[in-house]
């Protein structure tokens, strides 16, 4: 599946894996892809910065969402804060949502007639049909998925002009 991925896109996938591992996640999720896409000065990273968020904001919001969802079932925030994420030893798998995002990334590249799949396509694929968790994280960050996707195309066009 990764043969058409550009070097930067492969890098994004690896960084997302590392982020999931560091956060002790069972699986790589779309929010880990978003985290990975926020760095590296690619058009995708510039679109994310243009939307007004960065890696720190995304990380903090993923945690805030966990706290909020646990409060729904009566777990106080203090318990969650006292139990920080521990990095896991083994490599997490890709969850269904992250797999779907990468498949959609391929479609986004094909639809635009791009031969290589870059980070911009990974971001578009991630935003296409956000998982419930990513949808909540984006909403908390006050980001409209369609608006961020539009910013990606703006940044790609700007990069093409040089």
């Amino acid at each position: 599946m990764f043969e058409r991925f550009s070097r930067e896109a492969k890098q994004v996938v690896l960084i997302a894996l590392g982020a999931a591992q560091r956060l002790g996640a069972e699986q790589v999720e779309p929010e880990h892809l978003l985290l990975a896409l926020a760095d590296g000065g690619t058009p995708a990273a510039r679109a994310i910065a243009e939307a007004g968020i960065d890696r720190e904001a995304i990380t903090a919001t993923i945690e805030a969402d966990l706290v909020a969802m646990l409060e729904v079932v009566g777990v106080p925030a203090s318990i969650v804060e006292a139990t920080p994420a521990a990095p896991r030893a083994d490599r997490p798998d890709f969850g269904v949502h992250a797999k779907r995002a990468l498949e959609q990334a391929m479609r986004e590249a094909v639809r635009r007639g791009h031969r290589r799949l870059g980070p911009e396509h990974v971001l578009l694929g991630t935003l296409h049909a956000p998982s419930p968790t990513l949808a909540r994280v984006l909403a908390r960050l006050d980001i409209e998925p369609a608006r961020l996707a539009a910013l990606v195309d703006v940044e790609v066009a700007a990069a093409a002009r040089g």
Partner: protein, 87 residues
């Protein structure tokens, strides 16, 4: 005083919210396991004892936690620390 939700408050009515809470609880359980394994090892528990307490194999505990514990410079004990939790 600690906030204790009533049953009514603690059971989500919206399935989407309920499922999100399920995922969140799994994550919290993983985190709690990691922190308790770390504490147990600091107190001299062996992998076999931790495995017995969690109801899994010794290998499963090792696979999941050994690398992190080594990175923290922790070595598991020889055991003899297991005691029943007082009800």
């Amino acid at each position: 005083m600690a906030f204790v939700p009533t049953e009514e408050e603690a059971i989500p009515r919206d399935p989407a919210e309920g499922f999100a809470a399920v995922l969140a609880l799994r994550q919290l359980a993983d985190r709690l396991e990691a922190s308790q394994v770390e504490r147990a090892v600091r107190e001299g528990w062996s992998y076999s004892e931790i495995a017995a307490a969690l109801g899994v194999s010794r290998q499963a505990v090792h696979k999941k936690h050994a690398k992190r514990l080594r990175a923290l410079g922790l070595k598991t004990g020889r055991g003899g620390n297991v005691r029943a939790v007082q009800p």
